[in-house]
C-alpha cells in the first residue's frame, strides 16, 4: 500500500476543490493534494456547456468548462499535486484518507487538514416514490445532461421534466436545441424552483409550458416510457382528483433537488445538519471534526458557482492555517439559528472574532422585507425566494456587540420594522 503525507488534502476537483486547493497553497501550505474521481478536473462544470457562469467572479459570462478552466490553469501553474481517476473510499477522523486508482492501487494519505469538496447528487424517482412502472427513459436531469453534452447522445424526443430546479430548466432548453419536444415542466411549488433568469431564458423563450402546483402521479409504459399522468396538488402536495392529465412522452427528466454527498463525511463521524444535509461548520468552515473542513455543494447546495469559489477559498485558507498550526481555537462559541422564514444558515456556529459570511435561504418567497441578523444588522430585501441564496458578511467589530448565546437570523416584515423604529 502506497503511503503519502500532505499538509492539505482536498477531496474533489470541482469548482470548490480547485478554489480551496489554490487558497490553501497561497496561504502557505507546502504540500497540497487534490483527489478527483473523474479523468479531468472541473467536476460537474464540465458538462454545463451553457453560459452564465462567472458574472460575479470574473464579470464575464462564461460557460461551465470555461469557468472551470480558469481555475484549472491556475492550479497547473502551481505545485499542487493532482490525483485523477482516484476514488476516496474512506476518511477517518484522524484525517487518514484511503483512496484507489488503477495505477497505484490503494493509497493511504495522511493529511494535516482535509477539505471536503465532493459536491452533491440528484434526488431520484425512488426518493419521490412516483408510483407506476419502471420503464426505461427516466433520468435525473444531470444524467441526461451528461449523455447529451459529454457523450453525445439524446435520450429521447418527447420530454417531460419534473421539477423546475436549475438543471431541469437548463435541460429543457438543451433538449429543445437538440430537436426534442419538451412537452411540459411540472413543479409542485406555486413558483419555479430555479433562478428567474433560467425560467425566462430556458422556458419562456422556447414556449415550454410550466405547470405549477402540479406533479407526476403515475408513470406509464412497460419497456420504455410512454406517458406520464400529471395532476394539480393541494397545499399538502396531495394530488387533487379530477385534475389528472396524461402527457405522452418517451423521456422523463427529474430535477427535484440536490443532496450533498456526505457519505465520506458521515463515515469520518462529521456531524451533519439535517436541513442542509451538509456538515455543520463554524466560521472557519471547519466541521465537528478538528482539521476537517467543508465547502461548496457538499456543505450546502449553491445556485451560483461564484459563491462556491468564494466559500471554498475561505475553507482552503483556514485548512492551511490549521495544517500549519496557525488556526487558534475560538474564544467564544455562538450558535447560529434559523428564525422566521429562514430555512437554514451556514455557518451553524461562530466565534465573533473573525469576519463571517452568512449564507442562508428563505423557506418561502416574500417581498419588501428585512433580513435580520441577530439584531446586529438589518438589510432591506425587495424580494426573497428559496431559489436565491442570501449572503451577508459581518465583520468582527459588528459581531463583538453580540451578547447572547444564539444568534438568530430571520426575515422581518416592513411593518414590524416600522413598529420597532
Amino acid at each position: 500500500m502506497k503511503r503519502l503525507e500532505v499538509d492539505v488534502a482536498v477531496i474533489g476537483g470541482g469548482p470548490a476543490g480547485l478554489a480551496a486547493a489554490l487558497a490553501a497553497r497561497q496561504e502557505g501550505a507546502a504540500k497540497v493534494l487534490i483527489i478527483e474521481r473523474n479523468h479531468e478536473l472541473g467536476g460537474i462544470l464540465q458538462q454545463c456547456i451553457h453560459h452564465g457562469f462567472g458574472l460575479h467572479r470574473f464579470k464575464a459570462e462564461l460557460t461551465g468548462p470555461e469557468y472551470a478552466q480558469r481555475f484549472i490553469n491556475l492550479v497547473q501553474e502551481t505545485d499542487i499535486a493532482v490525483l485523477l481517476e482516484t476514488m476516496v473510499l474512506e476518511v477517518s477522523k484522524e484525517r487518514t484518507i484511503y483512496a484507489v486508482n488503477s495505477q497505484e492501487g490503494m493509497l493511504e494519505i495522511q493529511a494535516q487538514a482535509i477539505v471536503l469538496a465532493m459536491g452533491c447528487r440528484e434526488r431520484t424517482r425512488g426518493a419521490l416514490r412516483i408510483p407506476g412502472r419502471r420503464p426505461a427513459g427516466i433520468f435525473s436531469a444531470g444524467t441526461a445532461q451528461r449523455y447529451v453534452n459529454i457523450d453525445g447522445y439524446v435520450p429521447g424526443k418527447k420530454v417531460v421534466i419534473l421539477g423546475s430546479g436549475d438543471i431541469g430548466l437548463i435541460m429543457a432548453r438543451r433538449m429543445s436545441l437538440e430537436g426534442a419536444q419538451v412537452q411540459a415542466v411540472v413543479e409542485v411549488l406555486p413558483y419555479a424552483a430555479g433562478l428567474a433568469r433560467n425560467v425566462v431564458q430556458c422556458l419562456e423563450d422556447f414556449a415550454i409550458p410550466l405547470h405549477l402546483e402540479s406533479t407526476v402521479i403515475e408513470v406509464h409504459g412497460e419497456d420504455r416510457l410512454e406517458a406520464v399522468t400529471i395532476a394539480k396538488v393541494d397545499q399538502n402536495w396531495t394530488p387533487i382528483p379530477g385534475t389528472e392529465q396524461k402527457i405522452e412522452c418517451d423521456t422523463l427528466l427529474l430535477s427535484v433537488g440536490l443532496i450533498p454527498e456526505n457519505e465520506l463525511s458521515s463515515g469520518a463521524g462529521v456531524e451533519l445538519d439535517p436541513i442542509t444535509n451538509g456538515p455543520k461548520v463554524d466560521d472557519s468552515l471547519m466541521t465537528s471534526i478538528p482539521g476537517i473542513f467543508a465547502c461548496g455543494n457538499v456543505l450546502h447546495v449553491h445556485d451560483l458557482v461564484d459563491n462556491v469559489s468564494k466559500e471554498a477559498e475561505k475553507a482552503g485558507a483556514f485548512a492551511a492555517q490549521y495544517a500549519l498550526g496557525r488556526l487558534s481555537a475560538p474564544q467564544k462559541r455562538v450558535k447560529v439559528a434559523a428564525g422566521e422564514n429562514i430555512r437554514y444558515v451556514v455557518p451553524q456556529e461562530i466565534s465573533l472574532d473573525k469576519p463571517v459570511e452568512f449564507f442562508m435561504r428563505v423557506q418561502r418567497p416574500d417581498q419588501d422585507v428585512y433580513l435580520d441578523l441577530g439584531g446586529l444588522r438589518r438589510v432591506k430585501k425587495q424580494f426573497v425566494k428559496p431559489s436565491e441564496m442570501l449572503n451577508i458578511t459581518l465583520t468582527p467589530d459588528v459581531l463583538q456587540a453580540f451578547a447572547g448565546e444564539t444568534l438568530t437570523v430571520r426575515i422581518v416584515s416592513a411593518k414590524e420594522v416600522g413598529a420597532d423604529a
Binding site: 500500500m1 474521481r37 481517476e85 476514488m87 473510499l89 484511503y98 484507489v100 486508482n101 488503477s102 495505477q103 497505484e104 492501487g105 490503494m106 493511504e108 447528487r121 440528484e122 431520484t124 424517482r125 425512488g126 426518493a127 416514490r129 408510483p131 407506476g132 412502472r133 419502471r134 420503464p135 426505461a136 427513459g137 433520468f139 435525473s140 444531470g142 444524467t143 451528461r146 449523455y147 447529451v148 459529454i150 457523450d151 453525445g152 447522445y153 439524446v154 435520450p155 429521447g156 424526443k157 418527447k158 437538440e178 430537436g179 426534442a180 419536444q181 402521479i217 403515475e218 408513470v219 412497460e222 419497456d223 420504455r224 418517451d250 457519505e263 458521515s266
Partner: protein, 491 residues
C-alpha cells in the same frame, strides 16, 4: 415467422421459465446425464417474480400443517447454507421474529412457537425485555415474540442467476428471449414453439410462474389457474443498515399473507413490504401511493424510526398464487411427461431448493433414466465483491487487475472489473448488471454510473450504446445521437 423457418431442436427435458424454480431445477438436473434446455422469455433469467421477491428464507413456522408449503419450506431452509456456499451467493442467517403487540397476538405467537417445536424448527420465545435487547429499535409497545434463528435472507435474483450459470457450466442449455408461443403433443414427444425454434422434448417442466396456467392451457391441460397477487416493496439507503437485525414479522391479520415486514436484506439495506393484493393483470407491476401508505403505517407500528425520506427505490412484483392456496407439484393428469411446478408463491423461494431436489425423484417415477454425471461440479467460481475486502486485499487485487482500481458505482463501491465479470457471466442489460453487482442500486440510483455502465456493456457485448437496454428489447435508454433529431418532425 413461419413454423417451417424455425430451427428444430430435440432435448430430453425442456424447462419453461428461468425463475428461481426453473433455474434450480436446471441445476439439479444437470447432475445427471440428461439433455436439459431452459427457455426464458426475458433477456435474462430471474426477471419475473423472482427479482421482486423479498428475499426472505423462511424458518418454516408460518405454513399450515398438511400443505406442500409446509412439506418443502423447512427442508428448503436447511439446504440454503450449502447451496449458497456452492454457488457463491450471499446468504445471511439473520433470523426472523414474529412480534406481538398485544396479549391476543401473543396467543398467535405461542401457536407459531408450538408449530416450530412440532416441526423440529429451532425456535425460542422472547420476553419483551429480551426482544428489546435484541432489537432496540422496535416500538416499546411490544409484548413478546417468537424468534426463529435459522430464518435468513438471500438475494433471489443472484441465486437464480448463479444456479443457471452453474447449470450451464454442467451442460444445461439456456435460451433467453424465448417465450413459448405454442405447445402441443405429438406421439411421445411434446413440442414447444418459440420465436426462433421448435423444441421437441420427452419431458416438459412447467415452471412458468405467473404464466404456468397459460402454458398448461396450450397443452390442453387447463385444470388450474394462477392468480397474480401484487407485492410492493420500498428499499432504504444503506445508511439505515442495522436498524433491525432480524426480519420483523407482525402477527398476520389476514389469511393470504404473513403481513408487512421490516427486512434486513442480504445486501445490508433495510426494506419494507410487501403488500398483498390480488390484481387483474399479470403485467400490473406498478407501485402506488396507497400501497406505500399502508406499508409505511404498518411497519412503523413495529419500527417507529423508519424514515420515508431515506427510501431510495421501490418496486412491485406479482406472486403466482394458485387457486388451491398451495403449491402445485405434480405430473399432469392429462398430458404424460408434463410436470407442473406451479403456484409457487411464498414461501416459494425458501422451498425452491427442496422442490428442485425432489424433481429427479418425480422424473424417475415416470421412468426417466437418471445416470449421475461423473464430472458434475456443484461449485460456481466465486464473485469478487470489492467493497467487502480489506484495504490490503483491495490493493493486491488492483495490482493483479487494474480494472479493480476503477470505481464505477460510487454509492455501492463497484469496480469496472466486477461489472466486466458480470457481463462475461451473462449480464446483458443495465438491470442485469445492477442485480448481479449492485452497480446502480444505491442512493443515486445510477445517476452517475449509468453512462459508464452503458459504455462497458457496449464494449463487452460489441453493440452500439444505442442498443444497450435497461432490461431487454424495447427498453433502450438512449434513442438518438446528438443533433440527430434536428430538422426532423417530432410527433
Amino acid at each position: 415467422m413461419k413454423r417451417e423457418a424455425k430451427t428444430e431442436k430435440t432435448v430430453q427435458v425442456a424447462i419453461i421459465g428461468g425463475g428461481i424454480i426453473g433455474t434450480l431445477v436446471a441445476r439439479e438436473l444437470s447432475r445427471y446425464e440428461l439433455d436439459v434446455l431452459l427457455l426464458e422469455k426475458e433477456a435474462e433469467v430471474g426477471w419475473g417474480t423472482t427479482k421482486a421477491n423479498s428475499g426472505i428464507v423462511h424458518a418454516g413456522i408460518h405454513e399450515d400443517p398438511g400443505t406442500l408449503k409446509a412439506k418443502y419450506c423447512f427442508p428448503g431452509n436447511q439446504m440454503f447454507p450449502q447451496l449458497c456456499e456452492e454457488l457463491a451467493v450471499s446468504f445471511k442467517r439473520s433470523g426472523i421474529l414474529v412480534v406481538a403487540l398485544s396479549a391476543e397476538e401473543m396467543d398467535m405467537v405461542e401457536m407459531y412457537y408450538q408449530r416450530g417445536l412440532e416441526r423440529g424448527v429451532p425456535v425460542r420465545m422472547l420476553s419483551r425485555e429480551e426482544l428489546l435487547a435484541q432489537e432496540p429499535n422496535l416500538t416499546p409497545e411490544v409484548v413478546g415474540a417468537v424468534f426463529a434463528p435459522q430464518g435468513g435472507s438471500v438475494m433471489p435474483f443472484e441465486l437464480a442467476a448463479a444456479a443457471m450459470e452453474n447449470a450451464v457450466a454442467n451442460g444445461a442449455q439456456l435460451m433467453v428471449e424465448s417465450p413459448v408461443l405454442d405447445a402441443w403433443v405429438e406421439g411421445e414427444k411434446k413440442y414447444l414453439e418459440t420465436p426462433t425454434h421448435i423444441i421437441a422434448a420427452d419431458v416438459v417442466i412447467n415452471a412458468a410462474g405467473l404464466f404456468a396456467d397459460e402454458i398448461a392451457r396450450m397443452f390442453g391441460d387447463a385444470y388450474f389457474s394462477i392468480q397474480p397477487r401484487k407485492g410492493e416493496e420500498y428499499l432504504f439507503d444503506l445508511g439505515m443498515k442495522g436498524l433491525v437485525n432480524s426480519t420483523i414479522f407482525p402477527v398476520p391479520s389476514g389469511k393470504t399473507s404473513k403481513g408487512i415486514l421490516v427486512i434486513p436484506t442480504a445486501d445490508g439495506n433495510v426494506m419494507i413490504g410487501p403488500t398483498s393484493d390480488n390484481v387483474g393483470s399479470k403485467d400490473d407491476l406498478g407501485t402506488s401511493y396507497d400501497g406505500f401508505e399502508r406499508i409505511l403505517s404498518e411497519t412503523r407500528r413495529l419500527v417507529p424510526q423508519l424514515d420515508p425520506r431515506k427510501i431510495i427505490t421501490q418496486f412491485a412484483g406479482l406472486r403466482a398464487a394458485s387457486g388451491r392456496g398451495d403449491f402445485i407439484i405434480e405430473f399432469s393428469p392429462n398430458v404424460p411427461g408434463l410436470l407442473h411446478l406451479a403456484g409457487i408463491e411464498s414461501p416459494g423461494l425458501t422451498a425452491a431448493p427442496a422442490i428442485a431436489a425432489d424433481v429427479p425423484r418425480l422424473l424417475a417415477e415416470q421412468g426417466v433414466a437418471l445416470t449421475p454425471k461423473q464430472n458434475f461440479n456443484p461449485r460456481r467460481a466465486g464473485v469478487v465483491r470489492f467493497r467487502e475486502l480489506s484495504r490490503a486485499e483491495q490493493d493486491a487485487l488492483i495490482r493483479e487487475n487494474p480494472a479493480y482500481g476503477r470505481i464505477v458505482c460510487r454509492c455501492e463501491t463497484v469496480t469496472e472489473a466486477e461489472i466486466v465479470d458480470a457481463i462475461r457471466r451473462g449480464a446483458r442489460t443495465l438491470d442485469g448488471v445492477k442485480f448481479r453487482t449492485r452497480a446502480g442500486a444505491g442512493r443515486c440510483q445510477s445517476g452517475f454510473c449509468q453512462p459508464v455502465i452503458m459504455e462497458l456493456l457496449s464494449r463487452e457485448l460489441g453493440i452500439p450504446v444505442e442498443q444497450v437496454t435497461k432490461r431487454g428489447p424495447g427498453s433502450e435508454q438512449i434513442c438518438y445521437e446528438a443533433k440527430e433529431l434536428l430538422g426532423k418532425e417530432v410527433s
